[in-house]
């Protein structure tokens, strides 16, 4: 993995993106602004699952109408996020906040998967409920918390507190895979 990241950092595309004055900034801005569409709409879906908002609209309708936009936002997030990683591969790979973010993203995926495989299948019985059943509410709440945490973790990647060239506590060295013992 480490070797792959090192190789990625040496590719001409990565170097070009890293060194370009405007492209990186543009990609970063797109990544941040798409938050409004992707996380904003996801949060609205979650709030509907919690029974806090849009209570008169059937859950399946909220999902059907907002999901295409949310998915479009997600694609933009993944593409721009991948480009941001591609521009700064080695530092991102060792960033503790990036690693936390990836774990949280996986958890968000698991939460969505559990929801879709479970209570969502029986939606016909609660589609019109103003306040959906507990399992749906839990899925909504977990999703809200995870996405909030993902935003925070993403923002913190920009800070160099735990970069490999800093003296780090052993636990952080383990978590980040920094090669400090050789120094």
């Amino acid at each position: 993995m480490s070797a792959m990241v090192e190789w990625l950092a040496g590719t001409s595309g990565s170097i070009a993106l890293h060194e370009s004055q405007y492209m990186y900034v543009l990609v970063e801005s797109v990544h941040v602004l798409t938050l409004c569409l992707f996380v904003g709409f996801s949060a609205l879906l979650d709030l509907r699952l919690l029974g806090w908002l849009l209570r008169r609209v059937p859950v399946s309708k909220v999902v059907a109408r907002l999901m295409p936009w949310t998915v479009a936002g997600f694609v933009v997030m993944i593409v721009s996020g991948a480009l941001l990683f591609y521009a700064i591969p080695v530092r991102s790979y060792h960033s503790i906040f990036f690693r936390i973010k990836v774990v949280l993203l996986v958890l968000a995926g698991v939460n969505a998967w559990v929801f879709h495989g479970g209570i969502w299948r029986r939606r016909t019985s609660w589609d019109m409920d103003r306040v959906p059943p507990a399992r749906a509410r839990v899925a909504g709440a977990v999703s809200l918390v995870l996405w909030a945490a993902i935003i925070v973790a993403g923002r913190l990647i920009a800070y160099n507190w735990f970069d490999c060239d800093h003296p780090l506590p052993r636990v952080v060295v383990t978590l980040t895979g920094c090669a400090q013992e050789s120094q």
């Binding site: 602004l33 938050l35 904003g40 949060a43 008169r56 609209v57 109408r65 507190w161």
Partner: protein, 185 residues
């Protein structure tokens, strides 16, 4: 008309504030030196934490604005009763806005002197002033024209809805771009 005059007055006073060393610089220096401002810029992590909350507010507020503006353009929940949708979205919008304004004020205090410069175009002062002007316009538009349009029932007013949705999105995009711009200095 009264509103237009008020807007002009605020915009021109903001511009005057920019050139007014007597007012703008001392205010920035005072802000920076306040106990809260000092606490934030002397802390390692406080600024990052506040900035993160600012982003959470952005997501909440952005989603609420887009939901309704999409509706005005016939997208998303385009066939739902506008009033219900607008009322629900309003709660999220206000919560997000409150969070953004509160954290935004703290961020300003912590680096206020960054927004006063002799080099207007080459410093953070330009995106900051630009963002504040757009913020003012977006807030005025949202809480006057847009608010009234969301409650409108006449067919004539309804015809204007797509234009209002588009204007709203563009104004808030202007604010967001300004906010991004501040980060580059």
């Amino acid at each position: 008309m009264k509103r237009a005059v008020l807007l002009l007055a605020v915009v021109s006073s903001a511009c005057a504030g920019r050139v007014n060393d007597e007012l703008w610089r001392p205010f920035a220096e005072w802000s920076y030196a306040t106990r809260i401002g000092t606490m934030i810029h002397e802390s390692t992590w406080l600024f990052a934490a506040i900035e993160s909350l600012h982003l959470l507010g952005l997501a909440a507020m952005g989603g609420a604005i887009l939901l309704v503006d999409f509706r005005l353009l016939g997208l998303g929940l385009g066939d739902e009763p506008l009033r219900d949708l607008a009322r629900d979205a309003q709660q999220v919008l206000l919560a997000g806005l409150a969070l953004m304004l509160a954290t935004g004020a703290l961020l300003y205090l912590s680096e206020a002197t960054k927004f006063y410069s002799d080099d207007f175009w080459g410093s953070a002062e330009f995106p900051f002033i630009y963002k504040m002007l757009f913020l003012l316009l977006a807030l005025l538009f949202t809480f006057t024209v847009r608010r009234r349009a969301l409650a409108s029932t006449t067919p004539a007013a309804r015809g204007m809805l797509p234009l209002i949705g588009l204007t709203s999105m563009l104004l808030w995009l202007g604010v967001a771009v300004g906010g991004r711009g501040i980060g580059f200095y």
